[in-house]
Symmetry: C2
Subunit: 208 residues, 2 copies
């Protein structure tokens, strides 16, 4: 390989990340990616295969970066949801990429299945230790947690515009984040830790 | 207008609904819509304006159909979430359309803002009657409820594949729906109706 192949690949991946996040798989243009990376278009095919392959790689890399930055803590799912919320706010491209992927690549790549499997296992272990409710299956816990975590970003702009503050105002995000992590707590806390079989609420020192 | 103009418009809208749900705004082809509707492509421009206008109309119509089919019940938000879940399962195109719209039409059309406004008002009234918790703002209640309702459909296929049953198996959906509506109940029930303590209230920090 020529000495600058690594640098060129890196530039191409960065350009592809922005192009795919903006335009999706069908809408992305390989020419624009090559131009933004100041590289020959042919090098995309040499290094990464076709456009679909490059898209899948970009999505997989972005999810791997996310997993590195936000460790999964099955024993503190509200904390995980809060950290994930913060990360996704700072990296709006990640939700755009997964959104396009959902619409344009509906089959589950085996690598992604393997990425989810340890999380399901960790939730299952946390359930056995009575740290997470057993009333909800691990897959449902994780799906509902992710639904809550991405609710504000995925809400219609029309709905977001009806909050008391501008949708991306820090105070607005603080209020939403607190409601969201409380909802994750209510969803995941075992009823038995409260001494009340019906409650979804953890015990609080203030309860009279 | 020629006598069959209404029938032609209806066929064009149906064809556009399926084309946009499948391919999104950028990916849709006006030629394919005209062909599927057995109509002249020129009639699309005559009746509906450009492709963006047609897309916005199709999304707005599909949300109006949904609102007609699933009345908003602020005094029974878990029931609303369950009915909405059922409707979206039966009409997967609606979530695809809103997904594309989110990615490709990021600005809130004023008509959609007006469609959300009464829901926010109804939640606010329900809060005043102590039917919904006041600890979460109306916009956050609705956004988090929608996040929960769409969590399974929006989950990664990789995550869905790790449930104990096939993702769209009736038993799987029944289990998920029960967990989802319970989470909406925990999110929305006022702490004061604590006959059953089934609340979403977060643990209050004890500040000295």
């Amino acid at each position: 390989m020529p000495p600058d192949a690594t640098a060129t690949k890196k530039r191409l991946l960065t350009a592809a990340y922005h192009e795919f996040a903006q335009f999706g798989l069908a809408g992305a243009r390989v020419d624009r990616i090559a131009e933004a990376a100041q590289a020959n278009k042919r090098l995309i095919y040499v290094h990464f295969g076709n456009k679909d392959d490059l898209f899948d790689l970009v999505v997989a890399n972005s999810l791997e970066d996310l997993a590195q930055a936000v460790p999964f803590t099955a024993d503190d799912l509200p904390g995980y949801a809060g950290s994930l919320f913060d990360y996704l706010l700072d990296h709006p491209q990640v939700l755009r990429l997964t959104g396009w992927s959902q619409l344009e690549r509906p089959d589950a790549p085996p690598a992604q299945v393997e990425a989810y499997r340890p999380k399901i296992g960790a939730i299952s272990s946390a359930q056995q230790q009575d740290l997470v409710t057993t009333e909800v299956t691990p897959a449902d816990v994780l799906a509902l947690l992710l639904g809550l975590t991405t609710a504000w970003a995925n809400a219609s702009p029309a709905l977001r515009s009806l909050a008391d503050q501008p949708p991306w105002d820090p105070e607005r995000l603080r209020i939403h984040r607190a409601a969201m992590t409380a909802a994750v707590r209510a969803l995941t806390t075992p009823p038995s830790t409260s001494g009340d079989e019906n409650t979804a609420r953890p015990p609080t020192a203030l309860t009279p």
